[in-house]
């Protein structure tokens, strides 16, 4: 094995062999699941734990109270409208055994207003429940009152959900259906992955550089190999650690997805047959069109470009972190150098968010061409389709800059790793680059 290979292997093993890596790799998805599951679980417990609410319904029209059906959460008790003169008195007389009183006024057909009274909290769930039930019932009653036969069916037939499909014309003249929402979601996901990866592993490289410098092993190592080999070995080694971590997460996701899919009775959506089957099984056509849209995106160029930008962006930022890390003696001194880098990353991230609404606007185009922001911003634009010349220009600039930065970082690194004592300033770094 050559020296670069040895350095990569050591760097890789030194991180992957750590307990913290294993904990972190398995812990992150768990944490994610917890973050999503805890609110749902708590809400469920909240509903389950509360007693059934006693709700009196005073229906002055005498026609609609029956529509409100009692269930575990609400027990609706219809009260004849004329027996009650004052809702407040009635509530007080009940001595706390009532949670709320719903009054359906006589003129509800014309005003469409229903009141709920209570001394306690009226939950949004109750309000929306009552609203939807009464709206449907009153609407049906109105239709029936018109005295036209089969009116209900006619209305149902006339009811239309407008589905706006975006169809993209390719230059070759073909048509392709695309979904804005899905493109947006995909772009957001890719840019967040790039952003997180670069920041997380950039910091890891920096720590590794500082550690070698602090425990003084670095001078022994660079007496056996060129400093550039050591730096490159670190960058590649840590990059491989990141890829390993991602691969583990993807496998975990696939396992969890399969298990969840089979328990929910939905087949894993791996083949078009399965999708079609799922589409008919799940009664609404929404699922079908969703899947059609998901499938409609041409993934090959997106994946290819994602990989290219990912490598370019990682190389750019990780060598920056390695160069800067070499200039400090201990991790606590590193913030003066990392702050500007993190700031640039943040700007790239916010630029990406801002470009989501209009992925072909001038800000989006420029930010996806400038090398420091392009790895994140271009991810947002990719699913919407990007003109070839912009992609080409952006990639050439990204890789050109990444190589230039790696070269400069190597020059800083070469001097920095042997620099102890006095804290280096940005001025020193520029001197070292020469």
């Amino acid at each position: 094995m050559n020296k670069l290979g040895l350095i990569i292997a050591r760097e890789y093993m030194s991180i992957v062999g750590r307990k913290s890596f294993i904990l972190m790799t398995l812990g992150m998805p768990l944490l994610f699941i917890l973050i999503m599951a805890v609110p749902i679980g708590l809400a469920w417990l909240n509903d389950k734990g509360s007693d059934t609410q006693q709700i009196a319904v005073i229906d002055e029209t005498g026609r609609y109270a029956a529509a409100l059906k009692s269930d575990d959460m609400y027990n609706f008790v219809a009260i004849k409208g004329d027996t009650v003169t004052n809702a407040r008195e009635f509530y007080d007389k009940a001595n706390g055994s009532l949670d709320a009183i719903i009054i359906i006024p006589r003129d509800v057909d014309s005003t469409g207003v229903v009141n709920i009274f209570s001394e306690g909290t009226i939950t949004p769930a109750l309000v929306s429940n009552v609203r939807s039930i009464l709206a449907d019932t009153i609407e049906s009653a109105h239709l029936a009152a018109m005295g036209i036969p089969n009116i209900q069916e006619m209305v149902d037939k006339a009811h239309v959900d407008v589905d706006v499909r975006s169809i993209k014309w390719s230059e070759a003249g073909g048509e392709q259906e695309s979904s804005t929402d899905i493109a947006m979601g995909l772009g957001l996901m890719l840019s967040i992955i790039t952003y997180m990866f670069v920041l997380m592993y950039g910091a890891m490289i920096m720590n590794s550089v500082i550690e070698e410098k602090t425990n003084r092993i670095v001078e022994v190592v660079v007496s056996s190999c060129r400093p550039f080999q050591l730096m490159l070995g670190k960058i590649i080694g840590v990059g491989l650690v990141g890829l390993t971590q991602m691969a583990i997460w993807i496998v975990l996701l696939a396992i969890v997805g399969t298990i969840a899919g089979s328990t929910l009775g939905v087949n894993a959506m791996s083949s078009p047959d399965a999708i079609a089957a799922a589409g008919t099984a799940v009664d609404s056509g929404d699922m079908n069109s969703f899947m059609r849209e998901v499938m409609s995106i041409n993934y090959m160029p997106i994946v290819l470009n994602f990989i290219l930008y990912f490598i370019g962006g990682y190389l750019l930022y990780s060598s920056l972190f390695a160069g800067l890390g070499s200039a400090v003696d201990q991790a606590s001194d590193s913030s003066q150098f990392t702050t500007p880098v993190i700031l640039i990353m943040l700007i790239a991230f916010y630029a990406g968010m801002a470009c989501m609404e209009n992925p072909s606007g001038p800000t989006a185009v420029w930010c996806s061409i400038i090398p420091f922001t392009s790895p994140v911003v271009m991810m947002i634009r990719l699913p919407f389709g990007v003109p070839f010349w912009q992609l080409a220009l952006s990639l050439v600039l990204l890789f050109g800059t990444a190589l230039a930065i790696t070269w400069l970082a190597a020059r800083i690194y070469r001097r920095g790793i042997l620099h102890y004592g006095q804290k280096a300033s940005f001025k020193d770094l520029f001197k070292w680059m020469k």
């Binding site: 094995m1 020296k3 040895l6 350095i7 050591r10 030194s14 750590r18 070698e212 602090t214 425990n215 003084r216 092993i217 670095v218 001078e219 022994v220 190592v221 660079v222 007496s223 056996s224 190999c225 060129r226 400093p227 042997l418 102890y420 001197k431």
Partner: protein, 305 residues
């Protein structure tokens, strides 16, 4: 032809010159002392030999050939500031350093076992470096330096951090390596160890060579014509031949005399022997420590004037 030939090496930094034309010849199979106060340029010179830094001018040849990056496999380097990867296992660490120097895995593993055995560290092979005592870590570092049996060894302050017992063991190992044909460049402040192990020395001060030669030669050059005379009598001064020096309270039987200009030892001793009852005499040579301090101080005053 010297094994390691450093010829007029210059290294400049933005603010200062670290080496202003340094030349030095190290013969094969010898231990060569590179001396000098802090900041004299020793570390820079060592880093240039190790090809960690590049010289601005001058040449470094190894075995008659201009050094290239590939030659670093022929060097073992123990820097003054030492360290190891704390989380690595002792055995893996040594093998890693050996393989970085171009050994095959099998060779490195075999050599690692041999050296761990020699230093009684066998049971520590699978322990992490951070669990070792400081002295043991120093030994591991030494093994990492010599594992690939390099023909040229560079030790920067090798004895610092060792207790006397371990320092002695280390000295024995270094002498053994020399006897097996290794050439050793030895950078230190510890003048006692220089006298014990070095054949040749070079003293650097302010980026320049101020003194060079074999230890004996240097001592002869710097002798002050002082003689310790052993006699029960009390010697009177004789300005024509010598002056008396203050006695050394730890050596009651010695009287120290400094010969006058142009007087040789034989004349003085003959005269003394005629007038006093001499039991013996020895010429007092200066210690390397004295020579070091004297040379550095005198150069510094020269520079200040």
């Amino acid at each position: 032809m010297a094994y390691l030939d450093i010829n007029n090496v210059v290294k400049r930094y933005e603010e200062h010159t670290a080496l202003a034309g340094v030349s030095m010849q190290v013969e094969q199979g010898t231990i060569y002392g590179l001396l000098g106060p802090n900041g004299a340029g020793k570390s820079t010179l060592i880093r240039i030999i190790n090809r960690i830094l590049a010289a601005d001018e001058g040449t470094v040849t190894l075995n008659g050939k201009q050094m290239t990056d590939n030659d670093i496999t022929h060097i073992g380097y123990l820097p003054e500031e030492r360290g190891l990867y704390k989380k690595m296992k002792v055995g893996d660490h040594i093998v890693y350093l050996g393989r970085l120097k171009g050994m095959t895995k099998a060779d490195a593993v075999a050599s690692m076992h041999w050296w761990l055995d020699r230093f009684d560290l066998k049971e520590w092979e699978n322990k992490k470096v951070e669990n070792l005592s400081k002295g043991m870590q120093q030994k591991v570092q030494f093994i990492g330096t010599v594992i690939h049996r390099p023909p040229l060894l560079i030790f920067d302050e090798p004895f610092s951090g060792f207790d006397p017992v371990n320092a002695e063991q280390l000295k024995v190992e270094i002498l053994a390596l020399r006897d097996q044909g290794s050439t050793i460049l030895f950078s230190t402040h510890n003048m006692a160890s220089v006298e014990e192990v070095c054949q040749q020395i070079t003293l650097l001060n302010h980026a320049q060579v101020v003194l060079t030669g074999s230890v004996d030669e240097v001592k002869q050059q710097h002798k002050k014509n002082i003689i310790a005379v052993q006699t029960p009598d009390s010697i009177e001064p004789n300005p024509a031949l010598y002056t008396l020096l203050p006695p050394d309270p730890t050596k009651k039987h010695d009287t120290y005399i400094k010969l006058a200009q142009g007087v040789n030892v034989r004349d003085a001793i003959t005269w003394l022997n005629e007038h006093y009852q001499l039991t013996g005499f020895t010429e007092v040579l200066p210690s390397m420590n004295e020579i070091f301090i004297e040379t550095v101080k005198s150069k510094n005053t020269e520079n200040n004037e």
